[in-house]
Symmetry: C2
DNA sequence: CCTATATACTGAAACGTTACAGATTGTCAC
DNA sequence: GTGACAATCTGTAACGTTTCAGTATATAGG
């Protein structure tokens, strides 16, 4: 009776469970469970036997069962702003994260939030509902309530970009200070003296990194700044284009630009040309880019590469590291810009 | 005694459960469960009372509990090729999907697969492990094993792009036939007679849609085709650029291009210019784009817009519709190109 | 007054997993 | 031969939910 019933139970459900394995091996469910996770109190042979059978029939632990029992979700959440995120950032960072979690049990869920919402909302949701074991956030601010909140709750996370609150947490950042200084030095090297910076939005930490690098290098090389802070890389293409054109029609206009984003650079160049000036002759532009396309746009553009896929991979590694018990302080990384491309004079 | 214990249980765990609600309302767990889902056999007042309390204390059903009991995951999976997917496609489609599932209990998980893998692998994984209630796939083929597989298993899905297997399933597609015909007509309208097509990869369904539109319109307007099928939009920028330059140096060279992707268009233009020819004078290019950037690249470019965010939203709606019991046949949509932008003659 | 029926509610069981607290052996010291 | 102990293994309960099979009460029909 008993056996018949058990058999039927196992046959009926398509997917093997611990019970199936227990039946097949003649062991108890508990033993099977522990054998699969290499618990020491299970005999070596039993362990091998269970693992063999499990592999043979393609056993995979039921995520809901594990999650209900242990609270472990095996989920990493990537939190994204649906309006302001850089396009290539989204795909590259996702692929970077994917690459790292590919041979782990982790799934990647994307948690979006929009302009209208408090950026803390999605984080609160994730933490309150226990929807993820780890979180990755971008658009990091010097005093970031999201980081503070997660630190308080003890949920592992990593930020793309640094904070400046005296709190330690994993991050990955691109060295925007180095980017800006190299950009300025390069422009000075080809004779540019009046430089404008299209900066990141003020509220984000890398705004000041970029700005500091820019102004430090400016005084180092003895060049001057033409203020261009009515727009940031967050503004629309049209806005940036218009403002650039306005700026370039002024008496004292820049002869060099440093741009923190590739799409914005397209707008800057358009604005320059709207004003009847020529890139490479009247003005030079150094831009960050994440895909290798800007040099097709105008060969005179000077580019510095930022690798978002790498960022995604690093962020994922950090979060997994923290979940795995590593100390947050050891999970910080900074990636250096790969140098300004050599200037090619116009034909 | 009993009460003390119950109270303690509820106090201890931070998050309210049905048990918490049951205790607070003085009802049974079953009643609470049913009251929350508006079951008819619960008294109207009780129902309101339970729902009020639930809202007040911020009750949210435990996903693992629901999933374990019912098998419902409340997850939609977006399956992406980590090498070949168009960059803007990834971010836009994610945002489109997000937009639709925002006020549902659904989460979006991204399931990646790489070049080396069988595209069926991630699908098998999802289905076998029951990881999602619905799936969205892209890079759809005329005879698509993934669609067939999911249809057999009865798991709701939607494809970006159509299949051609005589099987009915939800899809969203851009009308690439219309795109190609309009592109050709426009080029013919401005006097171009020898046209080349940079097509999608042959294995994907929209290759033939595009090609058919191209050739049909070609004979309609009496223009001729210059074969350009050694490359597709899947090839690298460098490859496309090189092939284009080769083509443009030949005696019989195209005076018009139709390009199925924006990034590829950059390469085509670069190739044209490598050959010493000028866009708008020697040759015109019509291109699809998904973000509004190509006109900044070269103002002579003729562009047609494909809205991936809309595609994401439509795909999500389709999958949710299918899950909700709608008939697959009713969940198909085709989006028309928004017209070729007016040609602006060079200054 | 009793029975049938509808209404409103409830406890127990189950989904698959892990943790806790044993239970069953065999080995060894004395 | 007995007790102690280690080595292996096992049953039960619990995580939060829904479903099944009820139970209790009120209402109506006869």
């Amino acid at each position: 009776m008993d056996r018949d019933q058990t058999e039927k139970d196992d046959e009926a459900s398509g997917r093997p469970t611990l019970k199936t394995l227990a039946f097949m091996t003649g062991l108890g469910v508990t033993t099977v469970s522990r054998a699969l996770k290499d618990a020491p109190e299970i005999g070596a042979e039993t362990r091998r036997r269970v693992q063999l059978v499990a592999k043979q029939i393609g056993y995979r632990p039921n995520r809901a069962g594990v999650r209900l029992r242990t609270g472990k979700t095996n989920v990493i959440s990537l939190v994204l702003n649906t309006e302001r995120e850089i396009m290539s950032f989204v795909s590259d960072i996702i692929y970077g994260v994917s690459e790292v979690i590919a041979d782990t049990p982790y799934h990647l869920i994307v948690t979006p939030y929009s302009r209208s919402q408090d950026p803390l909302d999605p984080i609160r949701y994730l933490v309150e509902t226990g929807s993820a074991d780890g979180v990755i956030i971008s658009r990091t601010q010097p005093n970031d309530p999201r980081a503070r909140y997660m630190l308080e709750r003890g949920i592992p996370f990593a930020t793309h970009g640094r904070t400046d609150m005296g709190l330690i947490h994993p991050y990955h950042d691109f060295d925007n200070y180095a980017f800006a200084t190299e950009a300025v030095r390069h422009l000075a090297g080809i004779g540019r003296r009046r430089l404008a910076l299209l900066a990141p939005p003020v509220e984000l930490t890398y705004h000041s990194h970029t700005l500091n690098g820019f102004t430090d290098a400016l005084s180092e090389v003895g060049a001057s700044e033409i203020p261009f802070n009515t727009v940031s890389v967050d503004h629309s293409i049209e806005q940036i284009r218009m403002r650039t054109a306005q700026l370039m029609r002024r008496d004292v206009r820049p002869d060099g630009f440093v741009s923190s984003a590739a799409a914005a650079t397209l707008a800057i160049v358009a604005g320059i040309e709207d004003a009847g000036l020529k890139l490479g002759r009247d003005v030079d532009v150094v831009s960050k880019q994440s895909s290798d396309l800007l040099h097709l746009f105008r060969r005179e553009l000077l580019v510095v590469n930022e690798n978002f896929r790498l960022a995604g991979a690093e962020l994922a590694r950090s979060v997994l590291g923290w979940i795995g018990g590593a100390t947050p302080g050891s999970l910080r990384s900074l990636s250096k810009p790969t140098g300004v491309l050599a200037y090619r004079p116009p034909d």
